[in-house]
């Protein structure tokens, strides 16, 4: 017997939250998340997005991954900007545009060394999975609060996966139970 759509949704959310929780545990322990916990979900989210018809977003992510391997670092961001403009011209809806802006922004932050690769891959996987860039807003808000607490406590670095996990939970709550 096939599961009902509601129970299938609950299973997906449970898996998603379990994955985020495991990432948080690794981050808190070592400030690192193993590659299989970020690359595999990234690939699965890309496949899901392709099935949903959002190939433009997947193409942008693939281009950015390739661009990050260019030998001359000074050309990476300009070429990525060109790829971003090309992708925006292919975007079919405002939702895809927001998602592309977030994917590009997160990749650019990683490229300039402002954020870790694991954090960037987790956020991009979430954006690919939900195809909604607005997911990024609760994440950065929680991250901002976490950063303020870190500054007050005189801590140089913070485990950003905590902000990603809490922000995602907040976003799922807002989307499903609007005010």
């Amino acid at each position: 017997m096939l599961p009902s759509p509601l129970s299938a949704l609950v299973i997906v959310w449970a898996l998603l939250l379990a994955w985020l929780a495991i990432c948080v545990i690794f981050d808190l322990r070592s400030r690192q998340v193993p590659a299989f916990l970020t690359v595999l979900p990234l690939i699965l989210a890309a496949i899901w997005q392709l099935i949903q018809g959002g190939w433009q977003l997947v193409v942008l992510v693939a281009l950015l991954i390739l661009i990050s391997d260019l030998p001359q670092a000074k050309w990476r961001i300009p070429i990525a900007c060109a790829a971003m403009i090309l992708s925006l011209s292919l975007a079919g809806s405002p939702g895809v545009v927001y998602a592309m802006l977030v994917v590009f922004g997160v990749w650019a932050l990683w490229e300039i060394g402002a954020t870790g690769g694991a954090d960037a891959k987790i956020i991009i996987a979430l954006v690919l999975f939900f195809a909604d860039g607005l997911l990024f807003i609760p994440i950065v808000l929680v991250g901002g609060v976490q950063g303020l607490v870190g500054l007050i406590a005189r801590r140089k670095t913070i485990p950003y996966t905590v902000a990603i996990a809490l922000g995602t939970v907040a976003w799922l709550w807002m989307v499903n139970y609007p005010w």
């Binding site: 990432c23 690794f26 981050d27 400030r31 690192q32 998340v33 193993p34 590659a35 970020t38 690359v39 990234l42 950015l64 991954i65 990050s68 391997d69 990749w107 932050l109 990683w110 402002a114 954020t115 870790g116 690769g117 694991a118 954090d119 960037a120 891959k121 990024f136 807003i137 950065v140 808000l141 991250g143 901002g144 609060v145 976490q146 950063g147 303020l148 870190g150 500054l151 801590r155 140089k156 670095t157 913070i158 485990p159 950003y160 996966t161 902000a163």
Partner: protein
């Protein structure tokens, strides 16, 4: 694949605060001016 290999999950407190402020300001500006910006773009496109 440099991006896929990177396992670092580190973020400085300052950067987290700066990103939050920038995204909030950008989102707030878009909410306030989004319709007006779309109108201006349409006006320019119409004149062209």
């Amino acid at each position: 694949m440099r991006f896929l290999r990177d396992r670092e999950a580190i973020e400085t407190s300052e950067v987290a605060v700066i990103i939050a402020v920038v995204v909030l300001v950008a989102y707030g500006a878009y909410q306030l001016l989004g319709a007006r910006i779309a109108q201006v773009v349409q006006d320019v496109a119409g004149r062209l």
